[in-house]
C-alpha cells in the first residue's frame, strides 16, 4: 500500500509538473512579398528573413541577396505548362526586379519560383483577378454628406463565380488640418503635440477600408454590382483619388488573417494565430489585384 501511495505521489507530481504543450523555439523563415497588379508592370519581389521578436528589426540587414527568382506565366491554371518566364535580379533598394518588362495580364495564373542556396525551394501561384472598369460616371465634385455619392458599378463580365473581396484606398491630395472633415478634425484636434498631429494627418491622408465583401454591393438587373462609396472613407475635403482593389485568394488570405493577429475577430485577447500562407517553403504572400481608379473633389457643405 505504501508503494501505491509513493507511485501515486510521483505520478501526480509528474502530471502537475510536466508541460504537455511546450512552446516552439524561434525558427527563421524566408519572407517573400510580392503583389502583381493586372494591367501594370511586373512588380518587385522582396525576399528576406524573419527576425526574433526580441531583436531590433532592420529589413536591409535581413535581405537575402543570393536568390534565384523567376516568375512564370502559365498557359492555364495551376499545374499547367509555362507559357513565358520572367527572371529577376536584385536591385539597389533590396528588392528583386524583373530583368525584362512585362505587363501583368488579368485573369491569368502566374507562378513564382525561388531557389536559395542551402534553403528549401520556394513556390507559389496566383491567379490575377479579372480586369474591371467602373461603368458609372464619377462627378467632378460632390458635396460632403450630400445625397450624391461616388458609385462604383462593376459589369458582369468582370465578375467570376467566386465571391469577390475588395479594398478601397482613398488618397487625399490636400491633406491639411484645415481640410479635415469635421469628425476627424474634432478627433485629431485633441492632440496637443504638433509632431503627433502632423503624423496623424499623414496617416489619414492615405487610408483604406479594410476588406469588404462583394455581398455589400447591390446587384443590378443586368447583373452588375453597384457600391455606393461610404462617407466614412473621406477624411479630407478637396481632391481625392479612390483606388478600388479586387483581391486574389492569396492576398485575401494574407490580409484577413494578418488583421486578426492583434485583436481582430472573436479571438481572445492574447491568442495570436499565424497568418494564412499560400507559399511553399516560406512565409509571406505572392498575391495579385485588379484595380480601378476614381477621382473627385469633395466640397464642403455650406455649414462647414
Amino acid at each position: 500500500m505504501s508503494s501505491f501511495f509513493k507511485y501515486s505521489l510521483i505520478f501526480s507530481l509528474l502530471i502537475l509538473g510536466c508541460d504537455l504543450y511546450p512552446q516552439d523555439d524561434y525558427q527563421e523563415y524566408v519572407v517573400v512579398e510580392s503583389f502583381l497588379i493586372a494591367d501594370e508592370p511586373l512588380s518587385e519581389i522582396f525576399i528576406s528573413t524573419t527576425a526574433p521578436t526580441s531583436q531590433e528589426y532592420k529589413f536591409k540587414d535581413l535581405v537575402i541577396s543570393n536568390a534565384n527568382v523567376v516568375v512564370n506565366l502559365l498557359e492555364g491554371g495551376q499545374g499547367s505548362a509555362v507559357q513565358s518566364s520572367f527572371s529577376y535580379s536584385l536591385g539597389v533598394t533590396g528588392s528583386y526586379m524583373p530583368i525584362f518588362p512585362h505587363t501583368v495580364l488579368p485573369a491569368r495564373t502566374y507562378q513564382l519560383k525561388i531557389s536559395i542556396p542551402n534553403r528549401d525551394d520556394i513556390t507559389a501561384t496566383t491567379t490575377t483577378p479579372n480586369r474591371f472598369t467602373n461603368q458609372n460616371t464619377v462627378p467632378d465634385s460632390i458635396i460632403y454628406l450630400s445625397q450624391d455619392r461616388i458609385e462604383l458599378k462593376i459589369p458582369p463580365s468582370a465578375i467570376s463565380e467566386d465571391l469577390k473581396y475588395f479594398i478601397f484606398t482613398t488618397m487625399a491630395h490636400d491633406a491639411t488640418f484645415e481640410n479635415l472633415v469635421p469628425t476627424f478634425k474634432d478627433l485629431l484636434g485633441r492632440e496637443d503635440d504638433p509632431t503627433k498631429l502632423q503624423e496623424n494627418i499623414l496617416r489619414l491622408s492615405i487610408n483604406n477600408s479594410g476588406i469588404i465583401s462583394e455581398g455589400n454591393f447591390e446587384t443590378e438587373a443586368d447583373g452588375s454590382l453597384l457600391l455606393r462609396y461610404p462617407w466614412i472613407g473621406i477624411a479630407f475635403f478637396g481632391d481625392n483619388t479612390i483606388v478600388a482593389h479586387i483581391l486574389d485568394k492569396n492576398s485575401y488570405d494574407f490580409i484577413r488573417s494578418q488583421n486578426m493577429q492583434l485583436g481582430g475577430g472573436s479571438f481572445s485577447a492574447g491568442e495570436i494565430p499565424n497568418v494564412i500562407y499560400n507559399i511553399d517553403g516560406a512565409v509571406g504572400v505572392f498575391g495579385s489585384f485588379a484595380t480601378d481608379t476614381l477621382q473627385t473633389k469633395v466640397l464642403r457643405q455650406s455649414r462647414y
Binding site: 526574433p52 472633415v181 462583394e214 455581398g215 484577413r256
Partner: protein
C-alpha cells in the same frame, strides 16, 4: 416532428397515467410544503426524514416533499436545511392515512454556535454528483467587484473559472459560457450580463435558490453540452410586507415582498447610479465620457394558491443596458441590449405520489448596437424570441422507484440584420421549432445503492435533427460518511454563441441548420463525497468530457456579407478533464471552504494552429485562453460578534494561456496602404496559446456590520476591499510596434478597489 419523438411522449404519459398500479394497500404517507417560518418562502432541497426507519426525501424545486409507503406507526419526523433550526415533530400515522404536513423552519437566528439534532438520513447534504447548491445569503456577503453578484460567487467554486476580473461569464469544466444553460424560473436567459459582462442580470435580493449542475446533469435538463444553472426567484413573504433597500457605489437595489389573501408577491428593481458622477465629469471639456450610461432590471413574481393541491405563479424579468457615447462630432456609439422573460407556472399535486408542473415561458433577448462615424451609420438588429411549454411529472411509484418524465417544446425565432451606410449587408431570420422529452427512473436498489437512469430525446427543426441523449448515474454509500458517485451521459447543443469574453454587449446566438450539425459531447464523472469529521465535508470529483461538432463563427472571415450561412462557421472539437476537490465547513462560527481544481481543456479546428509549411494539415489541439491548470480558492466566513461578520476570498491560479510571438517581419510595399508608415507588421508564432501568463492571485475582504436604521428597521453596512494586496494581475499582453524591437506591454486587471454599501431590511 419525427415519429420516434411522439412515441416517446406517449410512453411517458402512458406510464405515468396508471396512477394506482404500484400503490400498495395498507400504507400511509406524509407530504407537504417546507417553508421559511418567518417569510413563508418555500425551501428547495430541504431534507426531511423519519428517524426510526431512516426513510426520507428532500423538497423539490417547488418546496414540496413526499414520503410514501410508510407502515402505520408513530415516528419522529425531522426536517433540516442549512441556515435553519432543525424541525422535529412526533407524528402518528394510521393505515392508509395520507397526512398533509406543512413544515416551517425557523432561521438560525443569532446563535454563534450551532446545535443540531439530526437523524442519520436527513444529515445527508443535497450533494448529488456534479451538483452545488449556492447559499444565497453567502452571495450577498462575499466581497465582490462593486456589488454582490450571483455569477461572481459561482466563479469561486472548483471547476468554475472566470476569464478575467471584468467578466462574470462562467467557464465550467472547460466549456465556454454558451455551454451552460441558464434558467430563471424555468425560462432560458440568453444574455445574463450587465455592464459589458461585469455583472450578471440576477439581482441577489430577488433570488431564492441557485443550483449549479457542473456536469453530468440529469435527463430533465438538456440543450447545452456542459452545465445547468437553475435559478429561482423568491415567491414573496407570506406573513408580512417586507423589503430591502441597498445603496452601493455602482448601483442601488430595492426589493419589496408581501402576502395577499390567496398568496404572495415580490418585486425587486436595481439600477446603476453612475449618472451623477458622469454629469459632474462631463463638465470637464478634456474628458470624453458617455452622455448616457445605465443599466436597469426588474424582477417580479406573484403566487396564487388556488387550493391545497394547486399553486399558480407568474414571474417576469426585464433588464436593459443603455449606452450613448458621443466621441466626437459626427462620431457616436449607441448600445441598447437586454433580456425580458416571463413564465407562468402551475403546480398540481395529484396525490402524495404524483406531482406535476406545467410552465409556459417567453424569453426575449435584444441587442441594437449602432455606430455613426462621419456620416456613415452601421447598425445591427439582433432579436431572439423563445416561447416554450414545459411539463414535468414526478411519480413516487414504490419505495425503490421514482419516475420523472416530461417534455419541453417551443418556437425560437432569431432575427439578425446588419446594415452599413443605409444598405442591408446581412439579414437572417430563423424560426425553429424544437422539442425534447425525457423519462427518468431513480431506483433505490438498496438503502445504500441508488441508480438514476434516463433518456432524453431532442428535436430541432432547422436541419431536422433528432438526437438521443442517454444519462446514467449511480451512488453507493457504504456508510453515512461516504458516498461514491458516478455519472455518464450524452449531451446535445443546437446553439452557439458568438461573443467576446471581454465585452458581452454584442453577443449573437446562432443555431444549427442544414449543413451545420448540432454539437454533442459525452461526460464521465466519478466522485467521492465524505464527512471526515463532524460538520466537515470533503468532496473529490474527476471528470472527462468530449465536445464534437463544435460550430462557431469563423474568426478569419472579416465580412460575412453574401456568404451562405454554413460557410460562416468553422467546425471543430474539444475535450476537457480534471479533478476537483472541495473541503468545507458549513456549520459554526467559522464556515467556508477550500477548493482546488487541476484541469486541462483543449480545442481543435481543422487547418488552425498548423505548423508553418503545413497549411493543409488537420490542425493541432490548443488550450483556450481561460484554461488554467491549477486553481485554488479559499472562502471563509467568520462571525466576529453579534454585529460584525468577516468574509474573505483568496484565489491563486496558475496563468492563463496566451500566444508568445516568436518572430516578426514587415511588409515593405503593401500597395493598398499608406506608404509613409510601416503598417503590416506581422508576427510568426509557434503553437497557439502555448505560453502562460504569470500566476493570478487576489485576496478580497469584506466586513459586515449589523445596525439599525433609526431604530425603525435592521440595517447593514458592508465595507469591502477587492484585491487587498493590490496585485496587478496580467490580463493579456499588448505589443507596441512603434518600438523596435517590439515592446511587450502588460494590460492589467483590477487594482485595489474599496467599496461600501448600506442596506436596510424592513
Amino acid at each position: 416532428m419525427p415519429k420516434s419523438f411522439l412515441v416517446l411522449l406517449l410512453a411517458i404519459f402512458g406510464l405515468l397515467s396508471s396512477v394506482n398500479i404500484y400503490a400498495q394497500p395498507g400504507n400511509a404517507s406524509v407530504s407537504g410544503y417546507i417553508t421559511d417560518f418567518e417569510t413563508g418562502e418555500t425551501l428547495i432541497g430541504a431534507n426531511i426524514a423519519l428517524i426510526e426507519i431512516n426513510k426520507g426525501s428532500s423538497s423539490n424545486t417547488l418546496g414540496y416533499y413526499s414520503i410514501p409507503n410508510i407502515k402505520a406507526d408513530t415516528y419522529t419526523l425531522v426536517c433540516s436545511f442549512i441556515g435553519y433550526k432543525t424541525f422535529k415533530r412526533t407524528i402518528t400515522l394510521s393505515e392508509n392515512e395520507s397526512l398533509r404536513l406543512e413544515v416551517s423552519l425557523s432561521p438560525e437566528g443569532l446563535a454563534l454556535e450551532e446545535i443540531v439534532v439530526e437523524s442519520q438520513r436527513e444529515k445527508r447534504e443535497q450533494k448529488n454528483i456534479g451538483t452545488v447548491q449556492m447559499n444565497t445569503a453567502l452571495i450577498k456577503e462575499l466581497p465582490s467587484v462593486f456589488q454582490a453578484d450571483v455569477f461572481r460567487s459561482i466563479q469561486l467554486l472548483p471547476g468554475v473559472k472566470a476569464s478575467s476580473d471584468f467578466s462574470s461569464g462562467l467557464y465550467i469544466r472547460g466549456g465556454g459560457p454558451d455551454q451552460t444553460l441558464i434558467l430563471l424560473d424555468r425560462t432560458t436567459v440568453y444574455n445574463p450580463s450587465h455592464f459589458f459582462g461585469l455583472f450578471s442580470t440576477f439581482n441577489p435580493d430577488a433570488i431564492k435558490n441557485v443550483r449549479l449542475y457542473k456536469g453530468g446533469y440529469p435527463a430533465e435538463y438538456g440543450g447545452r453540452l456542459g452545465s445547468v444553472l437553475d435559478i429561482y426567484n423568491k415567491d414573496g413573504n407570506r406573513k408580512e410586507v417586507a423589503g430591502t433597500v441597498s445603496l452601493g457605489m455602482l448601483s442601488s437595489r430595492v426589493m419589496l415582498e408581501g402576502p395577499y389573501k390567496k398568496g404572495s408577491w415580490s418585486i425587486a428593481a436595481r439600477r446603476s447610479t453612475l449618472e451623477p458622477i458622469l454629469n459632474v465629469l462631463n463638465k470637464f471639456d478634456d474628458l470624453t465620457l458617455p452622455s448616457n450610461f445605465y443599466f436597469l432590471d426588474i424582477n417580479g413574481k406573484i403566487n396564487y394558491d388556488a387550493g391545497p393541491n394547486d399553486k399558480l405563479n407568474l414571474s417576469f424579468y426585464s433588464g436593459v443596458d443603455v449606452l450613448k457615447f458621443p466621441l466626437a462630432e459626427d462620431f457616436d456609439i449607441k448600445l441598447n441590449y437586454g433580456n425580458q422573460t416571463v413564465s407562468s407556472n402551475w403546480t398540481h399535486i395529484f396525490n402524495e405520489r404524483l406531482f406535476s408542473n406545467f410552465v409556459f415561458t417567453g424569453a426575449r433577448y435584444f441587442n441594437f448596437p449602432s455606430f455613426n462615424l462621419a456620416g456613415t451609420k452601421s447598425t445591427r438588429d439582433n432579436n431572439i424570441y423563445d416561447f416554450t411549454i414545459k411539463s414535468d411529472l414526478e411519480y413516487l411509484a414504490t419505495d425503490s422507484h421514482t419516475f420523472k418524465g416530461g417534455f419541453w417544446g417551443g418556437v425560437m425565432t432569431l432575427k439578425l440584420n446588419d446594415s452599413f451606410d443605409g444598405a442591408n449587408t446581412f439579414g437572417s431570420r430563423t424560426q425553429a421549432n424544437y422539442g425534447s422529452a425525457y423519462l427518468q427512473d431513480t431506483w433505490k436498489a438498496t438503502d445504500r445503492l441508488e441508480f438514476i437512469g434516463g433518456l432524453r430525446v431532442s428535436y430541432f427543426s432547422d436541419g431536422n435533427y433528432v438526437r438521443a441523449e442517454p444519462r446514467l448515474s449511480a451512488e453507493f454509500s457504504p456508510n453515512n460518511r461516504l458516498r461514491f458517485q458516478a455519472a455518464a451521459g450524452r449531451y446535445t447543443q443546437y446553439l452557439t454563441l458568438q461573443t467576446n469574453e471581454a465585452f458581452t454587449a454584442f453577443d449573437v446566438w446562432l443555431t444549427a441548420d442544414e449543413g451545420v450539425r448540432p454539437s454533442y459531447g459525452d461526460q464521465f464523472v466519478l466522485g467521492v463525497k465524505t464527512i471526515p469529521f463532524e460538520d466537515y465535508g470533503f468532496d473529490v470529483e474527476v471528470y472527462y468530457r468530449t465536445m464534437k461538432d463544435l460550430f462557431e463563427t469563423d474568426p478569419f472571415i472579416p465580412d460575412i456579407s453574401g456568404l451562405p450561412y454554413k460557410d460562416t462557421f468553422r467546425f471543430g472539437s474539444g475535450d476537457a478533464y480534471g479533478i476537483e476537490m472541495l473541503f468545507e465547513k458549513r456549520v459554526g462560527r467559522l464556515t467556508g471552504f477550500i477548493g482546488y481544481t487541476f484541469a486541462y481543456t483543449w480545442r481543435k479546428f481543422p487547418g488552425y494552429n498548423n505548423e508553418i509549411g503545413n497549411p493543409n494539415g488537420p490542425g493541432r489541439s490548443y488550450p483556450p485562453k481561460y484554461d488554467r491548470k491549477n486553481d485554488v480558492m479559499v472562502v471563509l466566513d467568520y462571525r466576529l460578534s453579534k454585529k460584525w461578520k468577516f468574509t474573505t476570498a483568496y484565489n491563486y491560479a496558475t496563468g492563463q494561456a496566451y500566444t508568445e510571438p516568436l518572430g516578426r517581419y514587415n511588409l515593405q510595399n503593401p500597395t493598398w496602404d499608406n506608404p509613409n508608415f510601416v503598417t503590416y507588421q506581422t508576427f510568426v508564432t509557434g503553437k497557439v496559446n502555448a505560453s502562460r501568463l504569470p500566476a493570478y492571485t487576489r485576496l478580497d475582504v469584506s466586513f459586515t456590520r449589523k445596525s439599525s436604521f433609526f431604530k425603525l428597521a435592521d440595517a447593514e453596512w458592508q465595507f469591502q476591499i477587492v484585491n487587498v494586496m493590490n496585485r496587478r494581475n496580467v490580463w493579456f499582453y499588448n505589443y507596441d510596434f512603434e518600438s523596435n524591437p517590439v515592446k511587450k506591454e502588460e494590460v492589467k486587471l483590477l487594482p485595489i478597489l474599496p467599496t461600501i454599501s448600506y442596506t436596510v431590511n424592513f
